[in-house]
């Protein structure tokens, strides 16, 4: 599963990471995995990020991501 990252998350984790999962996981599980992989770097951002799955924001932490989904983890927006 390939995860794209944006903004400050790119600095904390990298622009893209691959996670070796072959079954569906929840958004909560994904974020926990990412935080572990980054040595806890993501900790203070966990309740601020938004996750997009296949080009749509998914609000529920319990929502399921399947292998093959296009996933992006987004920090708070800062347009304008």
């Amino acid at each position: 599963m390939r995860i794209k990252l944006y903004g400050i998350l790119k600095d904390l984790i990298g622009p893209e990471v691959k996670i070796g999962v072959d079954k569906p996981i929840t958004i909560h599980e994904l974020l926990t995995l990412l935080n572990d992989m980054s040595g806890g770097n993501l900790r203070e951002w966990l309740d601020k990020v938004r996750v997009a799955v296949n080009g749509e924001i998914v609000e529920s932490a319990g929502a399921i991501i399947k292998p093959g989904d296009e996933v992006a983890v987004l920090p708070p927006s800062a347009g304008g």
């Binding site: 944006y6 903004g7 790119k10 080009g55 749509e56 920090p75 927006s77 347009g79």
Partner: protein, 155 residues
């Protein structure tokens, strides 16, 4: 439903041309065109800014800009809405965002433009890194600044 134009763009937009297009809606009773143009500031919190580096999750950003434009058009009874946001490495004096609305009257026009701008800031997946004389800062939300994490500088 009126016209909606949105985009994540690399170059400046000819906002005069959009104003000219939208003012023609006067014939249908839309008497106000309100424009907001955001500009990179050369000075923030007393520190000189050399660059703002903008990036976006572009497909999603354009989808969200379209949704904002359509919802605000309905809410304020607008005749047309344009929202363009730039990405790339921008210098002080460069434009960052363009919002243009054609409204029935000035009150709806000002209210809609201000609200659209607010939603663009908070909802569109757009990120900016402020490069200042005193360091690099990620701008988070409406104004919080977080020093760029040093460990990954090279990435």
């Amino acid at each position: 439903m009126g016209s909606v134009k949105v985009g994540i763009v690399r170059e400046e937009i000819d906002v005069g041309a959009i104003i000219n297009e939208f003012k023609a809606l006067g014939r249908e009773g839309f008497g106000a065109v309100v424009v907001f143009v955001g500009v990179v500031k050369g000075l923030v919190e007393g520190a000189a800014v050399s660059e703002l580096k903008y990036e976006a999750y572009e497909e999603l950003a354009e989808k969200i800009l379209t949704r904002i434009a359509e919802e605000e058009m309905r809410k304020h009874g607008l005749g047309a809405v344009a929202i363009y946001h730039r990405v790339g490495d921008l210098k002080p004096g460069d434009t960052t965002v363009y919002i243009v609305v054609a409204a029935r009257g000035r009150r709806e026009g000002f209210a809609a433009a201000a609200e659209i701008l607010n939603r663009v800031k908070h909802e569109a997946p757009i990120y900016k890194l402020e490069v200042r004389e005193d360091g690099e800062f990620w701008v988070i939300g409406d104004g919080e600044r977080v020093p760029r994490p040093p460990a990954q500088r090279g990435s």
